[in-house]
């Protein structure tokens, strides 16, 4: 049985139908990357999983527990098992780096201040930023913010890590750093990783499996080798970055999301 099951999930924002009939299984311990064009609902998928958004139909099971219409208590229980790195890191501006990383620990676990400080140090060390507990989010670069966001996500020792566009907006060196971190955290913590990205290079490096979302459905699932060999034109166009040269501007804009 899969750890996470999306079954017939539907989601619309006003007239825009993001998911029409989305089905996807994610297995324990695997690293799956969700790819797709802008506006195809990749980040929405992550938010539905931890109940930040509600579905319009279908079901989402996490370790057999129904997420759709779940009680706040169930959602809290599920969220304790999942860590999320947000696209812009979403660090709390009013808290120091150390307090940011300790946030989930204080919420969930009855730990002494010494144990919290030790876990914060260990988490920051894991992302290559030891000893910056007293710095403030405003003093950090984009890459450092993402790594602190990751330290905050792993501090509670989650079973599943969600990465929302982890490499977007970063320079090539930081992209490599983040990719290495995703791989090393998977090895070290034995977590299930779900990465949302449209950075194909990162996707090939970090994934055991890829799933592509288009027009409200998962149109492809497979290993990096399988996706490289696929004949599906929509998938090929996406991974190779092909755009129809003869399309008019209006169509290009409409498809651009």
């Amino acid at each position: 049985m899969a750890l996470i099951e999306f079954r017939g999930v539907q989601k619309a924002f006003g007239p825009k139908r993001v998911f029409i009939d989305l089905n996807l299984d994610i297995h324990e311990g695997e690293s799956i990357t969700i790819i797709g064009g802008s506006g195809m609902g990749k980040s929405v998928l992550l938010k539905l999983l931890i109940g930040l958004l509600e579905t319009d139909g279908g079901s989402i099971l996490f370790d057999g527990e129904q997420i759709v219409n779940a009680s706040p208590k169930t959602l809290t229980k599920v969220r304790r098992r999942i860590g999320m790195l947000f696209q812009g890191a979403a660090l709390f501006d009013s808290l120091s780096v150390g307090e940011n990383v300790a946030y989930g620990l204080r919420e969930h676990l009855q730990m002494s201040e010494e144990a919290i400080a030790e876990r914060v140090h260990e988490s920051l060390d894991s992302v290559g930023l030891p000893g910056i507990e007293d710095m403030w989010p405003a003093d950090l670069s984009g890459g450092m913010k993402k790594r602190v966001g990751l330290a905050r996500a792993i501090a509670v020792h989650p079973e599943v890590l969600l990465y929302d566009e982890p490499t977007t907006g970063l320079d090539p060196i930081n992209v490599t750093r983040i990719n290495r971190l995703i791989l090393s955290l998977k090895e070290k913590l034995q977590v299930t990783s779900i990465v949302v990205t449209h950075d194909m290079q990162s996707a090939f490096i970090t994934s055991d499996r890829l799933a592509m979302i288009d027009d409200g459905h998962v149109i492809f699932q497979g290993t990096p080798d399988e996706i490289r060999r696929t004949e599906d034109r929509r998938v090929r166009d996406f991974i190779e970055g092909n755009a129809d040269e003869d399309l008019d501007t209006e169509t290009l804009l409409r498809r651009g999301g």
């Binding site: 931890i50 706040p72 999320m84 947000f86 979403a90 946030y103 919420e107």
Partner: protein, 272 residues
């Protein structure tokens, strides 16, 4: 589901006018009223059922109270001076200069200190709060709180509302003292009214009922200010432009709400 889980209110184009436009505006108004009511209920349920985040609460006492004290004091002092000059100038012509202390004391206690201070301080608090929570919403910090298994109402709304209910009455009391003292000083300098006489007539004129009729309104003003600012901040969508819109809306909505609440509560306290 928390209030912040609810889908955002519609942000469609502005009503075009006519019956349809008016209907749309009324619908949106009641939608907002409903959402604020839900947020209020959840805030009080959370306040009484979960443990208070003391650190956030103390931070809010500082942010709302200490940082609003300057504007509250300045308003009280200058309103006290203007009121005293206006009354003394007018009453002097009728030979009733001795009653200035009574009138100033009553006006300050029943209306000026509670309502005007709440209006000015409330606007400042509402703008700052809506901007802060709005920025947190658009940068996914509110989502991050929920993703980390915490409740944004407990972490963000409850400490702010509780601090508002406590801080606004305290600032209004300080404003009352400063308003009367500044009036006393200007009456002495400009109109030769003895300070002990002014003070004793002002204090004699104000009964406990008058004091309570004025200051009794301020916890409500504090509650209105903070719950509306929290609502507008948490409902912010649309990046920095959305933050600006929420901040401006917070000032307008809080000011008008305080004025309406003042009219209703004044009538209510008079009938008690």
């Amino acid at each position: 589901m928390t209030a912040t889980d609810a889908p955002p209110p519609p942000r469609g184009p502005l009503p075009k006018g006519g019956v349809v436009g008016a209907g749309d505006s009324i619908y949106r108004f009641f939608q907002h009223v409903g959402r604020v009511t839900i947020l209020t209920r959840r805030t009080f349920v959370t306040l009484f059922r979960t443990r208070l985040d003391w650190r956030a609460f103390v931070d809010q006492l500082d942010a709302l109270g200490v940082k609003s004290l300057g504007i509250g004091a300045a308003t009280a002092i200058f309103v006290g001076i203007v009121m005293a000059i206006q009354f003394a100038f007018s009453l002097e012509r009728f030979g009733a200069k001795d009653t200035v202390g009574r009138i100033v004391g009553l006006s300050e206690a029943r209306e000026l200190a509670p309502a005007l201070t709440s209006l000015v301080v409330g606007s400042r608090i509402a703008a700052a709060m809506a901007a802060e929570l709005g920025s947190m919403s658009v940068t996914q910090q509110v989502d991050a709180i929920r993703a980390l298994g915490a409740d944004p109402i407990r972490k963000l709304v409850v400490p702010r509302v509780l601090a508002g209910i406590i801080v606004i009455p305290l600032i209004a009391c300080i404003a009352l003292v400063l308003g009367v003292l500044s009036a006393m000083l200007i009456c002495n300098i400009s109109f030769g009214i003895e300070m002990p006489f002014f003070l004793s007539t002002a204090i004699d004129a104000v009964t406990m009922k008058d004091f309570m009729a004025g200051m009794g309104k301020t916890p409500f003003f504090g509650f209105l200010t903070t719950i509306l600012a929290c609502y507008l901040g948490l409902e912010t969508r649309g990046g920095t432009e959305g933050v600006g819109r929420s901040t401006a809306s917070a000032v307008v909505v809080v000011s008008i709400s305080i004025l309406i609440a003042d009219a209703v509560l004044t009538q209510l306290f008079l009938s008690l």
